[in-house]
């Protein structure tokens, strides 16, 4: 491609309303243009990158045995009624009416449509398993679309669905897709982790998210330095301390804490580590008032808390309820000497503590030297209530957890029979008996990957594309071609030879000043830059620079081609 014939339109100005580096850089490089909130045009440059991702995703899905199809974006309400999601999906479902007032939605996902396809197409176990995928535009009417294409309303997604006679066969396909996802992100050159995910309301039996690691990621991921273990922090188990609870060494005493309402303040006043304090959360669950206890330095994990029996739909207690059950105001609460008999749910770490500090249930006071069994009953329920933290032992017993930030770009899910059951998707088995299909779904946010890759790979000068995602592998920059025909000819010839060698190259023949050209190529993130100049021609060399290197090198022709040839994997 000659850049003079390509619509490249970069900008030095940093867009005011773009918060994330990827959003800023995609706008500055001219990859995307906003049409409306969360709705973007992909410019020629942006589309080149999007297509790179699409191609890798398509190849690996095909290699995994899935066949491509294309379902409509506009879906009739009736199908969504069958699964109850017309209402349950919520405000993200963009609903519309056609000229005959029939109701439709712009598909945010295709479980209903593909299950309808399956129930019409599949009648016999002989047609199973079936795995299909599509790469298609979706719409989710986000309340707060932001971060450019990272959280857009209209976006490009790869969604795959598989159908099986048995749960075992679904499980086999699930791991097949899991492996394909690994290959996809590896080929794209991204640092990623597959993490255990919460199956949530859908209630399937297994689920993994694939995250691109980046400091700006919205999700926290706990991963082990000693094994493959990784999980969304929402889900990562915090093991009970390995050592048994120490024996009590202190006696119980009340301490005055007139203005100390937080564990931090109390620890500071007493000159003790925060990890010696316990915070009390007053809740109301199905059985009434509950006090949940967490170590002062630990963070509550609401998803875990809701898994405790009776707390699935918990709410925070009101001040009146707190006063009634504990006899004190928030800030001075604890499990010792409540006003009424108390249900206590203790985090595993709290259950293993001795000589700890809690609120005294008396305004302005805390208790120190508290010990289970002596000063209060052993906790009735001990559970994992906290977020896993860096330094925790890995739940699989191998290594220590670290926490990373991630951007979710893929999700694999064993849906089981949920949709097939709701929509009556069955086949006849070998005995001629109707069997409800088992189903998996497997999504990749194709357009989001573009933004996530930039979050992971950028510097002050711009984007640093992994080679597989770069709009072009090589940029040939020509110095002063209009006034130096020999240089122009040499650049043309190099460009042709690189193209002939199958090396995807862009020729910057726009005739800009070198500084402008170089800045553009760095902003746009081309991995390899070659400068053709009069001085180089004299020396018989090209000035080569990798996007990741600080310095240029003068390379002769053979060395240059060796450097630019794609590495065979």
């Amino acid at each position: 491609m000659r850049l003079s014939q390509f619509h490249l339109n970069t900008s030095k100005e940093t867009p005011a309303d773009a918060e994330l580096p990827s959003h800023r850089l995609m706008l500055r490089a001219g990859m995307i243009r906003k049409l409306a909130a969360g709705i973007y045009t992909w410019s020629p440059l942006g589309l080149r990158v999007l297509r790179r991702v699409e191609a890798v995703v398509r190849e690996e899905m095909q290699r995994a045995g899935a066949v491509e199809m294309l379902m409509p974006s506009i879906q009739p309400r009736e199908l969504w009624e069958e699964t109850g999601r017309w209402e349950k999906f919520g405000g993200q479902l963009l609903k519309l009416r056609d000229r005959k007032e029939a109701e439709f939605a712009y598909g945010p996902t295709h479980e209903e449509v593909v299950t309808d396809f399956a129930r019409n197409e599949l009648s016999s176990y002989r047609q199973l398993p079936l795995a299909v995928f599509q790469i298609q535009t979706k719409f989710r009417d986000e309340i707060r679309p932001r971060f450019g294409v990272m959280r857009a309303r209209e976006f490009l997604m790869k969604d795959a669905y598989s159908f099986h006679l048995t749960a075992e066969d679904l499980d086999r396909e699930y791991w097949n897709m899991y492996a394909a996802y690994g290959r996809i992100f590896e080929r794209l050159g991204l640092r990623f982790r597959a993490v255990l995910a919460d199956t949530g309301a859908i209630g399937g039996s297994a689920s993994h998210e694939f995250h691109v690691l980046a400091d700006s990621g919205e999700d926290a991921i706990a991963w082990s330095d000693g094994s493959d273990y990784a999980a969304n922090v929402e889900l990562a188990e915090a093991l009970a301390p390995a050592a048994p609870r120490p024996a009590a060494t202190e006696s119980l005493r009340e301490v005055e804490t007139p203005a100390q309402r937080t564990c931090e303040d109390v620890a500071a006043l007493l000159g003790i580590p925060l990890a010696r304090t316990v915070k009390s959360l007053a809740l109301v669950g199905e059985q009434g008032f509950v006090l949940a206890l967490l170590r002062g330095d630990h963070a509550l994990n609401e998803i875990k808390l809701r898994k405790v029996e009776g707390l699935g739909e918990y709410r925070m207690a009101t001040e009146a309820e707190i006063l009634e059950h504990l006899g004190a105001a928030p800030g001075f609460l604890g499990p010792v000497n409540p006003a009424r008999p108390l249900q206590v749910v203790a985090d595993r770490a709290v259950a293993a503590m001795a000589d700890f500090v809690v609120g005294a249930n008396r305004d302005g006071y805390h208790l120190a030297g508290v010990n289970w069994g002596r000063d209060l009953p052993e906790p009735a329920v001990v559970a994992d209530l906290r977020n896993a933290e860096a330094g925790d032992p890995s739940p699989d017993g191998k290594g220590t957890l670290a926490i990373a930030r991630g951007i979710e770009v893929g999700h694999v899910f064993q849906l089981g029979q949920k949709y097939a059951e709701a929509m009556g998707a069955t086949v006849l088995d070998e005995q001629g008996k109707a069997r409800v299909l088992h189903m998996g779904c497997y999504g990749i946010g194709v357009s989001r990957i573009v933004a996530a890759a930039i979050e992971q790979n950028h510097d002050e000068a711009g984007i640093r594309w992994p080679e597989a995602m770069a709009p072009w592998r090589v940029a040939v920059c020509v110095i002063n071609p209009k006034n130096d025909p020999a240089v122009a000819a040499a650049a043309e010839s190099l460009y042709s030879e690189l193209a002939a060698a199958g090396i995807d190259t862009v020729l910057d023949d726009r005739g800009l000043r070198p500084g402008q050209m170089f800045a553009d190529m760095e902003l746009v993130g081309i991995p390899h830059r070659v400068v053709v100049s009069a001085r180089g021609l004299e020396n018989g060399t090209y000035e080569y620079r990798s996007r990741s290197a600080d310095e240029s090198e003068a390379l002769e022709r053979a060395a240059l081609f060796a450097r630019l040839a794609p590495k065979t994997a």
Copy 2:
């Protein structure tokens, strides 16, 4: 591809509600499945064909210098207000509101969005010309969606747009695109014609439609057997007869035609050719009552009639108006002896007639032997009012016109400054002066091409794909593989060798009976079929049959490969 791992699902039953062969065959072959009226899922088989078309379109657009981009499907109302099309586009525009009640449309076309892109991106003449394209899903809310994907509501379109400083440069690009379109349809292997089209309400300066020729086509096309001339019949000029008007030979006489109200009936009664009669159409235009005259055997072309001055908004006259101006009832009208002075508009053919027959303006009577100048004044206006017909001389003076039926699959259009003017899309020229952009648009109905190709290429057994569009080039059918391992192995080996030779092949390893296999491959339209059987193995031959041939041939390996290799163009 092994068919056992591909979801092929054919049917012998003819779908009841499918009127066109393409619709029936696409359903029977399992290429498409209806989700809602005018909304179809493309199955894996259907998508393979769609992607073939897409690939050829993309390559030729790129070869023509257009760069690909991707605009959103959801477009804000505000842009459509700028061009007045939010109202004017009519019911086909699918309008919707998001959760914040902002109004949008699902794009049926992208002139507004691309002009908005252009006015933001383009500031200098140096950035011109720019030609962009996208291949993208569109929605048009047809009142009567039908014929499957031929007239669907959701469909796949290639739309391209170009921007220019001058009308001359637009004209250059227009013919560049025109040539690219020709290459596209040639490469797809379709018989097509580029025809002059009416620029209609958009009022651009030039427009051609590209039609795939098929008997079932909705459009009539007039084309010359002696030149490249072709035009939609709506537009094709009917020349004045080459010979001058003959001299009068008959005298005017009234003939009784008590029940003869049509030219056909009158000609039959008088025993004369229909071409000797003249029919009178009573109209009301801007200047009042007008009588338009057409030869009895000619068909009125309303578009041409509306181009006559004063008739742009004509309507048919009422019976009262007819009685007032002519003094007779419909069926006996004519230009001779009207009740009031009359405006006559004669078709060119009528103006050249002598001794013709018209209504007598007296109920139950016609006049015969009518001659211009003698029995009535020469017509005030002579114009081309009729449809061109087979046998007419070509308007370019070369050859004779024939009429063909066509399916419109492409359209190129010089929009001029209409959209750029309305939306303020300007650039600075070399003198620093703001200039309104000139714009062209170029559409191809990608999904419609699939149906049109079938209309043109099918037989009793099914689809006969042109090679470039076939889902696979070659089908290898294996006879009885489960019971004959040698045959199965030979088929596998042939399949691998064909794949290695770059010949796109499907292996029918489903283990069906030969008749079922062959019927499927014919229905699905694979151009080349190779049967691997025990008998063939014994003889060292393969049974080869072209989809277009009646008989099979026994070919040895080398001859087979020679036959299957793609012809170099």
